[in-house]
C-alpha cells in the first residue's frame, strides 16, 4: 500500500517544440501556462504560487511573474539545479502547499536558445558560453566546450570499467525513436535503425550525433495542488507520492566518481521510501536522457540492474515499445523534445493519466521520473501515481 500523496499534478501544458523562431522564452511560458490551466479547469486567478526553472540564457528570471501578469502570488521563486530542477520544484511546490503557503502552484520551464543563426551545439557550447578570464579560461583553451565532451568522458569511463558498448547506447536511441513515432508531440519521428545510429557522425567519441539530445525552443508548465483539491478538478489526478534530491558533488576529485555512480542512487532510495512502494511496482520510467548513456547509468543507480550491467540490461530492447520496462515513452530528449527535467515530467503525467494514446503503457500505476543536471552533479527523483491511498 503506497503512502499518502504529498500533492497532485492537475494540469499540463506543452507548447509546440523545436525550431520555432522569433519568440521569447517568456512567450512560450505564457502559452504553456494557459494550456496547463485550461487542462486543469482552473483560471489564472486561482494561481497563488509560481516556480520558474532558470534557463540557460537566464532570461526566465523572477521578473517573469510580472511579464506573465500574475497578481498576489504568495509563493514565487526561480530555481536552478540545471536539468534536475523539475524534481526540486515539485518537491518545494508540494511542501509549500502542505504548509499552507500556496494552494495552486504553477511550475514552468521555457527556453528559446535556437535561432536561424544559432543551432543546437552553438546555443549550448558556443564561444559566448566560455569566458577566458581566470582559471575557467582553461576550458576553452583545451577545447572542452559544453556538456558533450564531459558526458562523453563519463560514458568512456563506464565502457572501460564495465564493457558497455556503443551498441548498447544505440539500442536505447532506437527504442526511444520508436516511441517518438507514436507521439504527436515528438520532434524526431523518422524511422531509425541501429545502423543509422552507428553511421551518425561522432560529436565527442564515444558519443555520436544520435546519442545526443535535441535542443528545443518551447515551454512546459504543470499545475500542482493538494491531493484533496485535485479530486474535484477536470483531469484524473496524478498523485505525487515521493520525491528526493541528491547532489553527489563535483567530479574534480580523484576519489569521486559521479560520472559512473550518480545521484540517482541516493535520491531514488529516499523517494521510494517516501512513496512506500518498490522498484517492482514501477510500470514505466521517464528518465533524463541528455545522452543515451545517461539512461543506462540512471537505470543502474535506481537498482533496476546491478552497477555495470546497464548495457546487457537494455540490450533486449526492453525500454522500447512492447518491452518489459517501457522508458521515455514520448521519445525523451533524444527524439521527443528537450525541456530539461520537464521532458520526463510531462510524459509521466500523460502516462499516469492514461492519456498516451498509441504510446500508452499497459502498467501505469506507478511512474518513476528522474532528472539530472550539470555534468551529473545534481539529481532529482519523483514518483507519481494515479492511485491515492487512505
Amino acid at each position: 500500500m503506497p503512502n499518502q500523496p504529498k500533492g497532485a499534478i492537475v494540469g499540463l501544458g506543452v507548447t509546440p517544440m523545436g525550431k520555432i523562431y522569433g519568440r521569447r522564452a517568456v512567450d512560450f511560458a505564457a502559452e504553456a501556462i494557459a494550456l496547463a490551466l485550461d487542462d486543469a479547469g482552473l483560471s489564472k486567478s486561482d494561481v497563488d504560487g509560481l516556480l520558474i526553472n532558470a534557463n540557460l540564457p537566464g532570461d526566465m528570471d523572477v521578473r517573469s511573474q510580472m511579464v506573465l501578469g500574475f497578481e498576489n502570488l504568495t509563493l514565487v521563486n526561480v530555481m536552478s539545479a540545471y536539468g534536475s530542477t523539475a524534481g526540486s520544484m515539485m518537491q518545494y511546490a508540494c511542501m509549500a502547499i502542505r504548509e499552507g503557503l500556496a494552494n495552486v502552484v504553477v511550475l514552468v520551464y521555457a527556453d528559446a536558445p535556437l535561432s536561424p543563426t544559432r543551432g543546437a551545439g552553438q546555443s549550448y557550447a558556443g564561444p559566448h558560453r566560455f569566458p577566458l578570464t581566470g582559471i575557467v579560461g582553461l576550458r576553452a583553451a583545451y577545447g572542452n566546450f559544453g556538456a558533450n565532451p564531459e558526458y562523453a568522458m563519463a560514458a568512456r569511463r563506464h565502457m572501460h570499467l564495465y564493457g558497455t558498448t556503443t551498441e548498447h547506447f544505440g539500442i536505447i536511441a532506437v527504442g526511444q525513436r520508436k516511441w517518438a513515432q507514436l507521439s504527436p508531440w515528438a520532434q524526431m519521428r523518422k524511422p531509425m535503425a541501429l545502423e543509422d545510429h552507428h553511421a551518425s557522425r561522432f560529436i565527442a567519441e564515444p558519443l555520436r550525433l544520435l546519442d545526443c539530445c535535441l535542443v528545443s525552443n518551447g515551454a512546459v508548465a504543470v499545475v500542482v495542488t493538494s491531493a484533496e483539491r485535485a479530486r474535484d478538478l477536470k483531469q484524473p489526478p496524478v498523485n505525487v507520492l515521493g520525491y528526493a534530491q541528491c547532489a553527489p558533488g563535483d567530479n574534480l576529485r580523484a576519489d569521486r566518481h559521479p560520472a559512473v555512480e550518480t545521484g540517482a542512487k541516493r535520491s531514488g532510495e529516499i523517494a521510494f521510501r517516501m512513496a512506500g512502494i518498490t522498484r517492482d511496482d514501477i510500470g514505466t520510467c521517464q528518465l533524463y536522457d541528455c545522452y543515451t548513456y545517461t539512461v543506462l547509468v540512471t537505470l543502474e543507480d535506481y537498482g533496476f540492474c546491478a552497477k555495470g550491467e546497464g548495457g546487457p540490461f537494455v540490450a533486449d530492447g526492453k525500454l522500447g515499445p512492447g518491452g518489459a520496462l517501457p522508458t521515455n515513452t514520448g521519445g525523451g530528449q533524444l527524439s521527443g523534445y528537450y525541456m530539461w527535467g520537464f521532458t520526463p515530467l510531462s510524459e509521466a503525467v500523460v502516462q499516469a493519466r492514461g492519456q498516451g494514446g498509441a504510446r500508452q503503457v499497459p502498467r501505469n500505476d506507478y511512474v518513476l521520473v528522474s532528472a539530472n543536471g550539470g555534468i551529473l552533479n545534481y539529481h532529482s527523483t519523483i514518483i507519481l501515481s494515479r492511485h491515492a491511498s487512505g
Partner: protein, 134 residues
C-alpha cells in the same frame, strides 16, 4: 586562420599561470587538512580553511578518462579536430582536465601513466598538458 582561445590570468589564478610559464605545475594546498585542490579557489573545499598555499605538484598522474572531440565549437579548433580532451588523476588527488600530447588518439588508454609538459598558447601564457610518462 582563427587562433585557439588563450586564457587571461587574473589575480587569483596568476600563480598557476606564472608557474606554467616557468615549467612548473602549481596547485593550491591546504596546510590545515593537508589536501590539494583544483581548480583555483579562495578557500579549502575539504575543510573551509581560508588560507591555501601554492605548491609545486608532482606533475605525475594517470588517465582517468578521455574523449576525442569531432565537433567544432570554436573556430580556433577547426583545424585541430579530431583532438583529445582528457581527465587526469594527479598523484595529489585532484582530477585535472587537459589534453594529452606526444601520442596518437588511437593509442590513448585509460590508466596509462602521464607526466605534465608545458605548451605555449601565446607569448605570455603556457598551458599544462600531459604526455605518456617514461
Amino acid at each position: 586562420m582563427a587562433e585557439k582561445p588563450v586564457p587571461i590570468p587574473d589575480e587569483i589564478s596568476a600563480p598557476f599561470f606564472d608557474g606554467a610559464r616557468q615549467g612548473r605545475l602549481m596547485l593550491q594546498h591546504c596546510s590545515a587538512c593537508d589536501s590539494w585542490s583544483f581548480p583555483v579557489r579562495e578557500r579549502c573545499p575539504h575543510c573551509f580553511a581560508a588560507r591555501l598555499e601554492w605548491r609545486q605538484a608532482s606533475g605525475r598522474g594517470s588517465l582517468y578518462t578521455f574523449t576525442i572531440m569531432h565537433q567544432v565549437m570554436n573556430p580556433g579548433f577547426a583545424s585541430a579536430v579530431p583532438y583529445n580532451i582528457a581527465q587526469i588523476d594527479l598523484e595529489e588527488g585532484v582530477r585535472m582536465t587537459s589534453n594529452i600530447v606526444g601520442i596518437s588518439n588511437e593509442a590513448l588508454r585509460i590508466g596509462m601513466k602521464l607526466q605534465v609538459v608545458f605548451e605555449d598558447a601565446s607569448k605570455n601564457v603556457s598551458l599544462p598538458k600531459f604526455r605518456p610518462a617514461g
